[in-house]
């Protein structure tokens, strides 16, 4: 077990190293120059511009050879320093991310967990209810195939603009300051609702379909038939089938996590919800190396951690992996 996790950690660390390296490299290969963006419209004389350019290059640490920048990047990273944002100059990237993260967690965690729970329950239920299987399932297929953006815009338009029930931008009312008051919490929830629903619906469809197919497969598995042959009640057979069908769903969750996060990014952009996704868009549009880097770094870390948690959960719930990792049976 320890060896398994030891090896896993090595895998995760190398993935992290590689992903972060790519994350570091990609913005640098984008055409354009962040310092020039920063210096745009400075009313200096031409001869002083080079001076300012050098000055700010030094401040951003871009005046040294690329390999040194890369090393400095790692050194800074271990000190928890992701650099300074160009777009939000002179704010620190970590500060920006730390402000955004609660919104992401607030939006993503309930959306993922609730959709996972509800979708799987519903899928399992639909698998043995003919009319549901025939009516709601196609809807599920539609939902999963729906682009986040499209669903978000549709919801914003129908419930936000036409019906006017929900606000369509921001995380809380413009007349409020963050505080522990009911008014604020209500406003927070009101603004959270539409982005949440648009994420929830798309995820929900995916899990429901996956579960429906998995459970049909499990109900046809040998162990189900054996239980039935021994006259076990249906409830037990279904309980086992559900338990086993949820395992590939958990793997699915691990695999999908990146996609899930990407979906949240799009949704955040649509609803101007101030999470990481919102900042990524801003950062890319303004070629903010450091902010892009920081946001993706955060996503990488989150996805890796989530995967690791899922790995652990999987090991706990599925004995097969647990044995596989001690080098089990022939």
């Amino acid at each position: 077990m320890r060896r398994y996790f030891g090896r896993k950690i090595v895998v995760y660390l190398s993935t992290f190293f590689l992903a972060v390296t790519i994350d570091w490299a990609i913005p640098r290969f984008m055409p354009g120059n962040p310092i020039l963006n920063l210096l745009t419209r400075v009313a200096g004389r031409p001869e002083t511009v080079q001076h300012m350019y050098n000055y700010y290059s030094r401040i951003f640490g871009l005046d040294i050879p690329v390999w040194k920048q890369y090393i400095n990047f790692w050194i800074a990273l271990f000190h928890g320093d992701l650099g300074t944002s160009v777009l939000m100059f002179p704010q620190k990237v970590t500060a920006i991310i730390m402000r955004a993260v609660p919104y992401d967690i607030f939006l993503l965690v309930p959306a993922i967990l609730l959709s996972f729970y509800a979708g799987n329950k519903f899928g399992a239920f639909a698998a043995r209810t003919k009319w549901l299987d025939n009516t709601v399932l196609p809807l599920g297929y539609m939902l999963t195939a729906t682009p986040y953006m499209w669903l978000g815009i549709l919801l914003a338009w129908s419930l936000g603009i036409v019906a006017g029930i929900f606000p369509i931008a921001g995380a809380y009312g413009f007349n409020l300051q963050p505080s522990l008051s009911w008014v604020f919490i209500l406003s927070l929830l009101e603004h959270w609702f539409l982005p949440f629903v648009s994420l929830f619906l798309v995820y929900f469809g995916g899990w429901a379909i996956g579960m429906r197919n998995m459970i049909i497969y499990e109900l046809e598995a040998d162990y189900s038939h054996y239980l039935e042959a021994l006259g076990a009640p249906r409830s037990l057979v279904r309980k086992y089938a559900y338990r086993n069908a949820i395992l590939p769903q958990i793997t699915g969750l691990a695999l999908q996590l990146g996609v899930v996060v990407a979906g949240a990014l799009v949704t955040e952009v649509v609803f101007s919800y101030p999470g990481i996704g919102y900042w990524i868009l801003q950062a890319i549009q303004n070629q903010d190396y450091f902010l892009i880097q920081g946001c993706f770094l955060f996503i990488i870390i989150m996805v890796l951690i989530a995967n690791f948690i899922i790995d652990i959960v999987y090991v706990i719930v599925d004995p097969r992996t647990r044995l596989g990792m001690v080098g089990g049976s022939a």
Partner: protein, 316 residues
């Protein structure tokens, strides 16, 4: 015709291949022209691995396989194709050899495209018919069907028929009849025997000792990747020396006599001894000793055409 020279296969397992799992250890034997050699062993003994190495489906970790004097690992594109024209394999699970969305005959079409692209339709059909008949199938009943419409036995014979389409010299028959019914088993066995009399060499991989006896001249008993006993079939069967072979012989259900009251040591799940005699953990020979545990006994010739890897079972 085919010579295995100290071949080994080591699988690496684990995420970074940190763990090495020897599947076949230093196995050497050869098969002459028109010879049938039975490779007998339990599941996990490495017998299928040897078959796959001969067919170059997996690489050899060490050692060499020589076919007609040439190391088969040197075969490239064209030479490999002509190798496959002469050496073919048929496997235990017939279902996995078929693609369920294509008709079963597809496996013939592939052979035709690969090896007989110029043959006329009529001639080809006759060839297919005769090889189907050779394996005891009625062409009208089995052609133009999807795999699910055929029984396991039919699919298995289909595969043999496919091998027969080629002018093969060597057949690796890996448990090909374990899924067949008793009544048709013997037909397939007879078919193999017939092919052998026409000069075909066969490596007959099986766990069923009676089948091995029926058609082969030479028997090789494999245990955990190592040969524990080998030689002339009659000698190995009638004068089994290795405790493992003896135990196997006693366990075979026979129609001519009932099981003896032999205590069967159930196969061990975890193998503790990895450097000594492969059979050490299960061995019930009273005088097994530290030497058995400490080093692997070599194959020793006990009589003409009979070798045993056990120092305690030499002929008295």
């Amino acid at each position: 015709m085919l010579k295995l020279d100290k071949i080994s296969k080591v699988y690496s397992t684990g995420t970074f291949g940190g763990k090495l799992l020897p599947a076949v250890v230093d196995v050497s034997f050869d098969i002459g022209e028109g010879e049938v050699v039975s490779l007998i062993g339990e599941s996990g003994s490495g017998k299928s691995t040897i078959g796959k190495m001969i067919l170059r489906l997996i690489t050899i970790s060490s050692g060499k396989i020589i076919f007609n004097g040439i190391d088969i690992s040197t075969f490239k594109k064209n030479t490999l194709k002509s190798y496959y024209k002469e050496v073919q394999g048929v496997f235990q699970d017939p279902f996995s050899s078929y693609n369920p969305i294509f008709k079963a005959d597809k496996i013939f079409t592939i052979i035709r495209q690969e090896f007989f692209p110029k043959m006329k339709d009529k001639e080809w059909e006759e060839k297919v018919d005769s090889s189907l008949k050779a394996v005891g199938l009625n062409p009208d009943q089995v052609l133009n069907k999807f795999p699910h419409q055929l029984s396991g036995g039919q699919l298995q014979r289909f595969l043999i028929a496919r091998a027969l389409l080629l002018d093969i010299k060597f057949l690796v028959a890996d448990e090909i009849i374990s899924m067949l019914d008793a009544s048709t088993r013997v037909d397939v066995l007879n078919l193999l025997a017939e092919l052998k009399s026409r000069g075909l060499s066969i490596l007959f991989i099986t766990h069923d000792l009676s089948l091995g006896y029926y058609i082969s001249e030479k028997a090789i008993i494999l245990y955990r990747g190592s040969v524990v006993e080998m030689g002339n079939t009659e000698k190995v069967y009638s004068n089994s020396l290795h405790p493992y072979t003896k135990m196997l012989m006693a366990s075979v259900p026979r129609l001519d006599k009932k099981w003896e009251e032999v205590e069967v040591e159930l196969k061990a799940k975890q193998i503790e001894n990895t450097i000594g005699c492969v059979y050490y953990d299960r061995c019930r020979v009273p005088d097994k000793d530290a030497g058995c545990a400490g080093s692997r006994p070599p194959l020793i010739k006990v009589e003409q055409d009979h070798f045993v890897a056990c120092k305690h079972c030499m002929k008295e």
